[in-house]
Every structure is written in C-alpha cells, then in structure tokens.
Symmetry: C2
Subunit: 451 residues, 2 copies
C-alpha cells in the first residue's frame, strides 16, 4: 500500500494549488495528487476552445509538469472510496493509499434538471471539464448549422458568443428576464444582452424550456409557451452540481446545498480531512449566508488556505467568507462584478445607495481602441462601506474588478476611497480627473454624506 503525508483528490485548479502550496510549506512531506483525467483542462478556457483557440489541446493546464517540478507525486486514477478514520482511500484499480492529511478537490459536474425530457437524446450536450467529451462535442457541433443553448449564465453566454464566431445560427434561451440575470443588476445585464445580440446571437429570455425532442437525435426544443424551435444540436448550460459522492459515502458532514461542510480553514468535520473548491460549502462575504460560488479563482483561494494550514493553522484568514469576483467578455466588451449587486443587496434587506459613472477607459478618449467604461458601486447607507461593484469596459475590466475586490475585502468606505490614490496612464486607464471608480464614489457621497 502506497503511503503519503498529504493526499489531494482532484487535479484541476484547486487540487493543483492545494498540492503545490502544501509542498511549498512542507518541503519534507510527501504530497500525492490523484486525478481522473490524463490531461486537465484550464476550466475557464473551455468556451474559448470552440473558436478563439485551436481546441482543447491548446487549453491544457500544465499540471503534470508543475507537479513534477514541485516534487508532488501524480497518480492518474479514480478514487472509489475514502475512509477518514483509517485514513485510507481505495482506487478503482484496487490500489489503496494511506494518508495523514486528505484534501478533497473533487470539483463539480454539469447539472441537468430531472424534469427535462429528452436530455439523453443524441446531440444534446453539457459542458463538463472533460477533454474527450469536449473533443467529440466540438466535432459534432462543427457538423451543425443551428445550435440552441439553454441557460444564459457565464458558460452559456460565453459559449454562444464563441460558437457564433464559427458562423452558425445560435439561439440562447434563458428563463430569467435577461441574460446573466443572477450575476449583474438588470441595467448591466441589458447592456450585455445588447452586445450579444449585436454579435448575431438570437436571445430569447423570460422563457423556460419544457422539453427536448427528436428521433434518436435531438431536432426540436419545446418552450414553456409551446413555441417549437427546430435545431441541429442543444447545449445545456443550466448550472453545476458539486461532485459529492465520495464525501457523502464516507460520512463527512454535508450542507443542505449538497456541498461538503467546511470551516474558515477549509477543515471538514473529520479530523485531517479538508475540502476546497466547487465541492466545498461557501459563505458569502457580505450576506454571511451559504452560497454556491463556483469559480476557479475562489477555488484557488480556498486551496491556498488549505494548503498552508494542513499541519498547523498558520495563515490566519484576514477576510472571512467568499466574495464573488468575476468577469466575462462578449465580443470586445467586458463585464465584471465584485461583491453583491444592488438587486442582491436589496433582496437581503440591506439599506444601500448606489453611484454610477460612465467615462472612457483611455484618455484622451480619441486614442485608438478607447472604449466606454462604466462603474457602479453599491454602498451601505449607514456604514458607507462598499458592498459591491459592477464594471463595463474593455480589456482592463478584469483587473479593475480586482481593484474593487480589494476595496470590498479591506472594507473601505467612501471616504477612504475618495482620499485614496490611484495611478493612470493614457493608453491603459481612464483619466485621473474622470476615473469612473472615483467618480462613482463621489456620486455616492453626494447622496449620503453631503445630502
């Protein structure tokens, strides 16, 4: 029986970071990672393998090299059971491995609603993080002229925008009134929708799917209102569910949401067992409620925490709870959000004020490639602390969203933002006198401090 000091189950972003961090902190311990797939995909890069990059071969996480360089053992295999008490796990090939510390980074899989008839027809796809599946899916989609995508979260939207670049007719169906409706406030979602429609994607919102039909192969999507859409293929991007089977069967405590219960240091209720990433329960930074943020960046942040704290609680968490920080791109327009939206804040009962400002992302705005940049801030009325921010703009949106993320995590208030300093450059940022983040903060101040 193989024995290892630390066993990490899962070799995607979270597993990789957990294993590498553990090794960095404990160079004398043996660290072993087990992953099911020979080649691990860059998870967020998957939509881009359909047009912007050649295919999945150009979207490989170089984890095998990174593991090797860091002196972490890598096993390709599937764990079928774990015993947290005897500290042994069993593989499908009957090998067993004993461990001192275990990190579960089992990830998530596409979720298909049980009520959806026809999901098992040919040419009905989901978007799993599985290279072989995606390669076959791409080959099949290449033969299609028309594709219906169901669910307009990030994956559905990014995939629609990408597949449209291949010249197909793309129809995106969403039950909510607007695309990305759970991520952004309505006015931002509407702008995202306009850009996507402008790129030629047909968007149908406010309408759920009732069933898929066809003879062997899918050829019809039936909507709730009876409308029938003929199609060559369907992609279901209706959310993901945590891969929790191993944990449930081993008796580790699970949350109502079906995730592994963890504390602030990613420890489960079983001594020496940690869980990180999509399979682990999260609590929102602002609302303090359970949430199901499934982002590679969140997973990696958790993996760093677990990796450091396996043997001793060493990295004390400065920030408590999960803050959603993410961005997406439609065509050449980027959308980002950090913290909670105005809608989420009001639904939670927060008393908030908002400030919005739209400027240009270069200065002067006459520079080639300059794009409009909009920032919206959501701020607690009494505390003046920033709870969330949304951004529309160009290629700097990702990092500008991270600036807002740092503001939220440091619990900065409007006064501290307005007395803080930023750097600007004509080709890289908005102007110092019209920097949308600060102007939006100024607009909040007018409504609160000076009203």
């Amino acid at each position: 029986m193989k024995s290892t000091d630390v066993l990490v189950i899962g070799g995607s972003a979270a597993g990789l970071v957990a294993a590498l961090t553990a090794k960095r902190i404990n160079p004398n311990k043996t660290i072993t990672a087990i992953t099911k797939e020979e080649k691990t995909l860059v998870p967020c890069g998957i939509p881009y393998t359909f047009a912007s990059i050649d295919g999945t071969d150009s979207n490989i996480l170089p984890s095998d090299k990174m593991f090797k360089d860091a002196n972490v053992d890598l096993i390709i295999g599937e764990v079928i059971s774990i015993n947290p008490e005897s500290k042994i796990c069993i593989l499908k090939n009957n090998d067993s491995i004993s461990f001192d510390k275990l990190v579960l980074a089992t990830g998530s899989s596409p979720s298909i609603p049980k009520w959806l008839k026809g999901a098992d027809l040919e040419n009905v796809f989901t978007v799993p993080k599985n290279k072989n599946y995606l390669d076959i899916m791409k080959t099949e989609l290449n033969k299609c002229n028309k594709v219906v995508i169901v669910g307009a979260g990030f994956i559905g939207v990014e995939l629609s925008d990408e597949l449209k670049k291949t010249g197909k007719e793309i129809i995106l169906i969403e039950k909510l009134p607007h695309i990305l409706g759970l991520c952004f406030d309505e006015e931002i979602s509407i702008k995202a929708e306009e850009v996507l429609k402008g790129n030629g994607v047909i968007v149908k919102t406010g309408l759920g799917v009732q069933e898929l039909s066809g003879d062997k192969k899918v050829n019809k999507v039936v909507l709730e209102n009876g409308e029938i859409i003929n199609t060559d293929a369907v992609v279901l991007s209706m959310g993901y569910k945590p891969n929790n089977k191993l944990a449930i069967e081993s008796g580790i405590a699970m949350s109502k949401q079906g995730c592994i219960m963890v504390d602030e240091y990613m420890r489960t209720d079983c001594a020496d067992v940690f869980a990180v990433g999509d399979c682990a329960q999260k609590y929102d930074f602002i609302t303090r409620k359970p949430c199901c943020t499934m982002l590679a960046s969140t997973a990696c942040a958790e993996a760093r925490i677990a990796g450091v704290n396996l043997f001793k609680l060493s990295a004390i968490k400065t920030f408590s709870g999960t803050i959603s920080i993410f961005s997406t791109v439609i065509g050449t327009t980027a959308f980002g959000v950090a913290g909670i939206t105005e809608t989420q804040a009001r639904n939670e009962g927060f008393d908030v004020v908002t400030g919005v400002f739209e400027g240009m992302d270069k200065h002067p705005g006459t520079l080639p490639g300059a794009k409009k940049q909009l920032v919206k801030l959501i701020v607690g009325k009494e505390s003046s602390i920033v709870l969330g921010g949304e951004v529309i703009g160009g290629s700097s949106v990702g990092e500008l969203t991270n600036v807002i993320g740092m503001i939220i995590q440091n619990r900065m208030n409007i006064n501290s933002i307005l007395t803080s300093q930023i750097g600007t450059h004509p080709l890289l940022t908005a102007s110092p006198a019209g920097y949308p983040l600060l102007k939006a903060a100024g607009n909040v101040a007018i409504k609160t401090i000076y009203s």
Copy 2:
C-alpha cells in the same frame, strides 16, 4: 471687483478636480477657476499627440464644458499677484478678484539645467503643457530626419517611442545606467530598454550631455565623453519644476524643494489658502520623506482632498502621504510601479525581501494577444507589509498596478494577500492558479514566514 467664494488658479487636472469637487460639496458657493490657456491639454496624453492621435486638438481636456455644466465660472487670464491677507488677486489685465478660499493649482514647467549651453538654439524643444508651443514643435519636428531626446524619464521614453513611429532616427540619451532608472529596479528598466531598442530607438545610457551647439539652429549634441552626435533637433526632457512664483511672492511658506508647503489637508501656512498638484510639496507614503511626485493622478487625489475640505475638514484622510502609482507603455509592453522599488527601499535602509513571478496575462497562454506578465513585490521583512510592486505585461498593467496600490495603501501584509480573493477571466487576466501577484507573494512567504 469680482468676488467669489472659492478661487482656483490653474485649470489643468488638479484645478479642474478641485473646482468641481468644491462645487459638488458646496453647491451654494460661487466657485471660479482661472486658467492661462484657452484650451487645456490632457497632460499625460501629450506624448501621444506626436503619432498615435492626430495632434493636440484631439488631446483637449473638456474642462470648459465641465466647468459650465457644474456651474463653475471660468476666466481665461493670468494672475500676476495674490495677497493672502486681503484675499485679493490681481490679473495681468488689471482686473482683481476677491476670494474667501484660494486653491493654488499652478502646476509645473519643464526644467532646463543652468549649466547646459545651447539650450536656447532653434530646434531645441522642451515638453511644456502648452498647446501653441507643442503645435509649432510638432510642425518643426515633422521636417526633421533625426531627433535627439535628452533624459529618459517617462516623458523622454514615451516621446522616443512615439516619434519613432513617424519613421525618424531617434537617439535617446540618459545619464543613469538605464532608462527609467529612477522609476524602476534595474532588471525592470533593462527590460524596458530592450523593448525600446527593439522598436528601433537608439539608446545611449550612462552618458550625460555636455552642451548643444549649432549656428542659430542646433545641429550637434556634445556628450560628456566628447562624443558628438549630429542632429536636426533636440528635445530636452530633463524634469519639471514647480510653478511657484506667485506663491513665493505672496509670502506663502515654501519647502527646500521649491514647492508650496502643505499639510495633510492641502492647507498652506496662510489661512484659507490651499495648494494642490505639482506645485505642492509631497511626503512619501512609505519613507515619510519629502518627495516630488509630479503625476496627474496624484494631483487629482490632492485636489479631491482640498475640494472637500475647503470650508470644513470633512473628508478625513485614511491614508497619509503620497504613494507613487504609475505606468507607461513602450510599443505594446506596459510597465507599472506602485510604492517604492527595491533600490529605493534599500537606499532608505529598509530591511526588505522580494518575490518575483512571471506568468501569462491571459489563460491559457495560447489565447491570441496573450503576453508575459511579471510581478515583483517589495515587502518589509519584519512586518511582512507590502512596500512596493512592479509589473510588466500588456493592457491590464495599469489596473493591476492599482490593485497593488490598494494593497499598499491598506497596509496589507503577505498573509492577508495570500488569504485574499481575486477574480480571473481567460481573456482578461492571468490564471487563478498562476496569478503572478499571488505567486510573487507566495515567493516572499517562502523567504520569510517559512524559512
């Protein structure tokens, strides 16, 4: 005699922001701004008027419209004296204006060393923030085949890179061992130099200029080592000096550096007189020593502070001192810095450790337009607090530098960075598992916490 509640002298970025902020906070007060020029240039955009944008007409700060929209009075004129006691200022046309509060935002002008012979020859230029001057300069430079630029700070480097795009032979001369030598650590400066040379600019470093010569028109640059460079024109970018004449003559206290002495709230030693921007003395956020940061972004931050606090100290400063945060672009490679460099830190006697990581600014790195991204962090050894950061990369460098700026201003330490959360997107940022800022922080941790 005209009377105003608030008089702002200077209509560039700092004057504009001070006046607009003052009006926002005090809608019932009369605010008046005086500016010498009919049209105010976007200061940082000036180098780009030589190639990337049409000319100065496409680089105008729309301040007149902004003043009008905000109901701020604008006077085009030149102030020749101010009396802080009687609270009256006199204009060149003999008009006088009485004020309750005065904000000096007089800016800075190119500085030419007294010892430099030949600086008054024709076709020797500086880079002032003056539209008419720059228009003539561009016309004259268009006739030249060869231009020597003296001084490789930001302006000299950006101008070299821009003028090269017009097909001329460009020679950049710098006394320090490398270009941008006061801004970045040597290894970063060397990379900037490589990019600039790769773009075709001839760079001569470690050599001062001794004199300029020619018959009426400059035609030779003589270096310290006797070397003679024939040229059609010379641009001197050897630094800027504060426009301090009005303040000196009015008896306001000045610093040794020739700047107007101000406190944390931008108040001078004369009651009701404030100073902001390049003409005001600054103190470094990290070293606490006097410094001469002349950046539009810093000026605007000071202007916001002054504008809010004119009548009552209302916006209490959360952060004390000036933090340099800036970025530049050479070709398509961007360079950014926030806080102090390793060299500056060691010269000041700080006991620091550094962490460096180079990755890609998109993920996977196979995506079109992906560029290398390098982050270097400079961290106090005992405190583990981040003192500075440097970045090389693509179009996201400006905002990534602002992320580091927020980290420094919030005095985050390595533990709080490593337990913080960031957002990532394939097309907009580095990967979550290989995010250079966090990997650099991890490399600092290995040297300090876990060593």
